[in-house]
């Protein structure tokens, strides 16, 4: 197995996630795209862990998974709050702080 193949898979998933964050209007869909990005980072971390023969990459991948779980919890709570106040979760409508 080559190093490049895992890094390229991570890059492809990262770019698809970035497209999703830019293109989607629904807040839940944006959170899903962020999950794609975090998973691509994890693939890179584990590939480098094997490449360097070190276990640190595994540790950091576990930390990233924990942070992602916390992020989804808070993010979905915010989405529920926005929905309760406005009856919509379209991110285009949240323009009060545009300046």
């Amino acid at each position: 197995m080559l190093t490049t193949q895992f890094l390229l898979l991570g890059a492809v998933l990262f770019c698809i996630g970035v497209y999703g964050v830019l293109a989607r209007k629904n807040a839940v869909m944006v959170l899903m795209s962020i999950e794609l990005i975090l998973n691509s980072v994890n693939i890179n971390l584990l590939a480098f862990s094997v490449r360097h023969g070190s276990v640190d990459g595994n540790t950091f991948a576990l930390y990233v998974i924990a942070i992602a779980a916390a992020e989804v919890g808070v993010g979905l709570a915010m989405v529920l709050l926005i929905y309760r106040n406005r009856r919509t979760i379209a991110l285009d409508d949240l323009s009060e702080m545009k300046g």
Binding site: M1, T3, M32, L36, N39, I43, L62, L80, D92
Partner: protein
């Protein structure tokens, strides 16, 4: 050399799984039904777990299945069903400027692929892929509770604050 290298079972598995993952990821960002997008995301996350197994990271793969496919997906489906009365297809999931995302993503992909191929080329991940041993969980726990204890503490606080914050945000009063 390259031809025999391509036929290694690990490479075949990698190809099939990554193809599934990329198709699933593209469907997640293009499909017009939130529940379907969540189910496509399950395929991507399970594929990522399989890739972790290929990278001999058993513990991370199991954690991925437990946390992502188990907990996070349930949260997503709850979020979808609590915020949307409709379950069917929706036409207004995209921004009106959604097409601008395509050149941005393609440009990023081009730059990243160039840098990765330029930097690593055909370097092998490990000299003999048959030598890859699964990492014992004991080694990982020694790493977490040894040199990386301080980030672990910080992470516990982050999780605690996230739980309290989620309760405070979602509470009705």
């Amino acid at each position: 050399m390259i031809a025999t290298d391509l036929l290694v079972a690990q490479n075949v598995g990698f190809g099939i799984i990554s193809l599934l993952m990329i198709i699933g990821a593209v469907r997640v960002v293009t499909v017009s039904n939130v529940v379907h997008a969540a189910l496509w995301l399950v395929i991507v996350l399970s594929g990522a777990a399989a890739q972790y197994l290929l990278l001999s990271a058993e513990f991370v793969a199991i954690t991925q299945v437990l946390v992502y496919v188990g907990a996070v997906m349930v949260l997503f489906l709850f979020g979808t069903m609590l915020t949307r009365a409709r379950i069917g297809a929706e036409s207004d999931l995209n921004n009106k400027n959604w097409f601008l995302g395509i050149p941005v993503a393609l440009l990023m992909l081009g730059v990243m692929s160039y840098v990765i191929v330029d930097g690593f080329g055909s370097e092998r991940l490990i000299e003999n892929s048959g030598d890859m041993q699964p990492i014992p969980i004991q080694v990982i726990s020694d790493d977490i509770f040894g040199p990386y204890l301080l980030p672990f503490w910080a992470l516990s606080f982050v999780l605690l604050v996230a739980v309290i914050g989620a309760i405070v945000l979602a509470r009705k009063d």
